[in-house]
Every structure is written in C-alpha cells, then in structure tokens.
C-alpha cells in the first residue's frame, strides 16, 4: 500500500509540475463541446439525448487522457525502474488512484461546462446523478487504467486505446447513460437502483480481474 501511495504522489507531483494532462484535457473538452454546440445550434436537444452526449464527451476525454499513465512510463523508459522497486499490484493501485482523481476533476469540469452551455440538460434528481458520476467514473477509470497498461506495450497506442476500451466499457456506459437519463427525467431514486447495481458490480469485477491479471501485463 505504501508503494501505491508513492506511485500516486509521484504521478500527482509530476502532473502538478507540468499540468500537461489537465491543460490538454480542458482544451479537448472545450473543443468537443463547441463542435456539439455548433452542430446543435438552433435545435432543441431532448434531455435524454443530452444525457447521451454528456457521456460521449466523458468517454472520449477519458480515452485521450488516461492512456498517459502507462504510456509515459514506457516512453520515458522508467517502467523498468518501477518493476524493480514496486510490487505490480501497488503500481496498478497507484495508477488507478491517480487516474480516478484525474477523471473526477475532469468530470466536474465537464459537468460545469456542459450545464452552462446546454440549456436542455437539467438534472431533476441530483442524488441519482451524483451517485452515477461517483460510481461511473471509478468504473471508467478502473477499466481504462488496465487497458492503458495493455496498450502501452503495443504499437499505434493512440488509435488502439478507444478500440480496445469501448467493448469493455460498453456495459458501464449503457448503465450510466440510462441512469443519467433517469436523473434528467426526474425519476425517483429507487428507479435507478438497477443501474447502480450494474455499475457497482462492474467496477468491482473489472478492478478485481485487473489486479489478478496485472502481473502478466506488467512483467512480460
């Protein structure tokens, strides 16, 4: 666990020093959002459609930002050092913690920007929305951190990342979109219970499998 915290603070420090990921992700969100605003100008976007668009932004922002966690270690040639000093499970946990923090910050930025610019996106049941973001973001980061570890060893990393992640993330994306739609429809809290169960069990299963299989990916 100490190793995991060390990895986490190392990544956090290097991020705070350069702010590379956050800056480029913020620009990415602004660019994506403006394309959506240009293409929907003058149209009335239904609330259920706006729930889907929100998750499209989150998915592709995550796809452009989260692969860095492992790819940068390979590019800088520092992965060998990590292999010598830290247990594989600590590496994964540390990276997972950092990516989760990154995606929470990113999602808060996206949601603020989105609610300011999309008049049709009104959350009527904040409790559903809050829990969806809370569990959904963790599930998103747990699957994509592990896929990032796989693709960091491959060629053409950038294109491969969304291709590999999408089928894995699809069950999660479908349930978070459904829950977000429910929260904009003003549904009662209990109606989203099924989606929460799927999100929660998905996050638990994927992170468990990731920890079990990470040894093979890390020390090949």
């Amino acid at each position: 666990m100490r190793g995991a915290v060390a990895i986490f603070s190392k990544d956090l420090n290097s991020e705070l020093r350069t702010r590379y990921a956050l800056n480029s992700l913020l620009m990415f969100v602004i660019v994506t959002l403006s394309i959506i605003l240009f293409s929907t100008a003058g149209e009335t976007v239904s609330p259920s459609l706006s729930a889907g668009i929100l998750w499209i932004i989150i998915f592709f922002a995550a796809m452009s930002g989260l692969s860095r966690s492992f790819v940068s270690e390979e590019e800088r040639g520092t992965s060998m050092t990590l292999q010598l000093w830290v247990k594989p499970s600590s590496v994964l946990t540390g990276k997972l913690l950092f990516n989760s923090l990154l995606i929470y910050v990113l999602n808060i930025m996206i949601i603020i920007a989105y609610t300011l610019t999309m008049p049709s996106f009104v959350v009527k049941t904040p409790s559903i929305f809050f829990i969806t973001i809370l569990i959904g973001s963790f599930g998103l980061s747990s699957a994509s951190t592990f896929i990032a570890a796989i693709i960091s060893k491959a060629n053409s990393k950038g294109t491969l990342y969304p291709v590999l992640s999408f089928p894995i993330l699809l069950p999660l994306l479908m349930s978070v979109i459904d829950a977000t739609r429910l929260s904009t429809d003003g549904a009662a809290f209990g109606e989203a219970a099924g989606d929460f169960k799927i999100m929660f069990s998905y996050s638990v299963v994927v992170s468990t499998v990731a920890i079990v299989l990470f040894d093979f990916v890390w020390r090949d």
Binding site: A143, F146, I147, I150, I151, K153, A154, N155, S156, L160, V163, L164, F166, P167, I168, L170, P171, L172, M174, S175, D178, G194, D195, K197, I198, S201, Y202, V205, V206, V209, A210, L213, F216, V217, D220
Partner: protein, 225 residues
C-alpha cells in the same frame, strides 16, 4: 480427423440443409416458414459464442504454461468465432428484414452480436499491433479474459435499455421462450439438433486444420531463425 469423418460431416450438413429447407414444419404463429432460419442461424451464433469461450480458455492455458501452441489455438478459435459471428449477423439480418421490416434495429440480440464483433475486432487489432510473439500471446490472452468477464453484464442491462422482439424473448415466444422451454415439434427439434451437431463438428474440423497450419508455420519459422 479421419477421412471418413470429413466425408460424413459433408453428407450430414448437406442432408441437414436439404431437410431443413424442404421439411414441412407446421404452422408457427408469427413466423411461418421463416422459422426455418433456426436450423442455420442458431448454430452459427452458438459457435460464435463457443469460439469466444474457447479462445479465452486457450488464453488462460497459455498464461499458465507459456506454451506457444496454446496461443496459436486461442487465435485460431477467435478467427473462426469471428467468421461465425459474421455469418450469424448476416443470416439474422436477412431474416430481420423479412420479419421485422428492416435489416438492423438494435434489438438486444443484435446489440450483443455487435458487441461480440467489436470484441473480436479489438482482439485482432491488438494482436496486429504487437510484434514480439510472447508479448502478443500474453496481452491478447489477458484482453480476451477481461472481455469475457464483462460480457455477462449485458444480460442484466439489455432488458433495462430496450424490449426485445427476437424469438425467445417477450410474451409471444413462438419457438424458444424465456424459460428455455422449446415449442418445436419433434421433427423440427431433431433437425435443429442435427444441424447443431453437424456445424459443431465442422467447427472442430476447421479448428484442427487451422491450428495445425498455425503450429507448423510457427515451428518452421523458429527453425529458420
């Protein structure tokens, strides 16, 4: 596989196809003669799923033994599974055009075969992006396990997202209903099982052939080096 077995698979499948098309199947509400697709479409999708499972199975075997043959078998199973899922998609899509009026309408079953195709596609892109053989074997095995683990979630999500029209779902279930009970008459059931058996043997034959070629190529390749 012995020669007589290959010949009998050929005769068996030819007979199944002929009987499946020509046999009187009686009146089936809502489907009629279109129900004959069950003899060809269901074995295809069954093999697509079976091949997906076998690919993961050999992937696990590779991770345990680090035996390159297991990786070749895993890739072979995935190749065949990809072909069978394309066949299942095409046959199902043609049937959907005549029964539902459009080739594709995101029915839960259509969505799940689409996801299966995506997973196979991602699996092959990952393999082609990895040059070192051991690394390719390890990482593609890991990916197939992760993909296999997430698939069961669709079983729980699909009913929440959309209602199905596919035979076997909902209240008017003409042939196979949700409890897994079959409402086929005896003759139809025999032909269906015969078809399932025939295509499964065809799969085994293709699998043996392809993996033998793969292993020979690999051995030849390593000897030259």
């Amino acid at each position: 596989m012995k020669n007589w077995m290959k010949i009998s698979i050929g005769i068996w499948i030819a007979a199944v196809v002929a009987i499946g098309i020509a046999m009187p199947i009686g009146y089936i509400p809502g489907l009629g003669a279109k129900a004959r697709i069950i003899f060809f479409h269901v074995p295809m999708s069954w093999l697509a799923v079976l091949a997906f499972f076998m690919s993961m199975w050999y992937g696990i075997a590779y991770l345990r033994k680090k035996d390159m043959k297991m990786d070749i078998k895993s890739a072979t199973a995935a190749e065949l599974g990809f072909i069978f899922s394309i066949l299942a998609t095409i046959t199902g899509s043609i049937w959907a055009k005549f029964n539902w009026g459009s080739f594709w309408n995101w029915d839960p079953r259509e969505t799940s075969i689409f996801v299966l195709l995506l997973i196979y596609g991602a699996y092959f892109s990952l393999r082609s992006a990895l040059e070192i053989e051991e690394r390719r074997a390890t990482l593609s095995a890991v990916y197939s396990i992760v993909a296999f683990v997430t698939v069961p979630f669709f079983v729980f999500i699909m009913p929440r997202m959309m209602t199905g029209l596919h035979p076997g779902e909902g209240s008017p279930a003409p042939i196979v209903n949700a409890n897994g009970k079959m409402y086929m008459d005896a003759n139809m059931r025999y032909v269906f099982y015969a078809s399932l058996l025939g295509f499964s043997f065809l799969y085994v034959w293709l699998f043996q052939l392809r993996s033998k070629i793969g292993i020979l190529t690999y051995n030849n390749h390593t000897e030259i080096e």
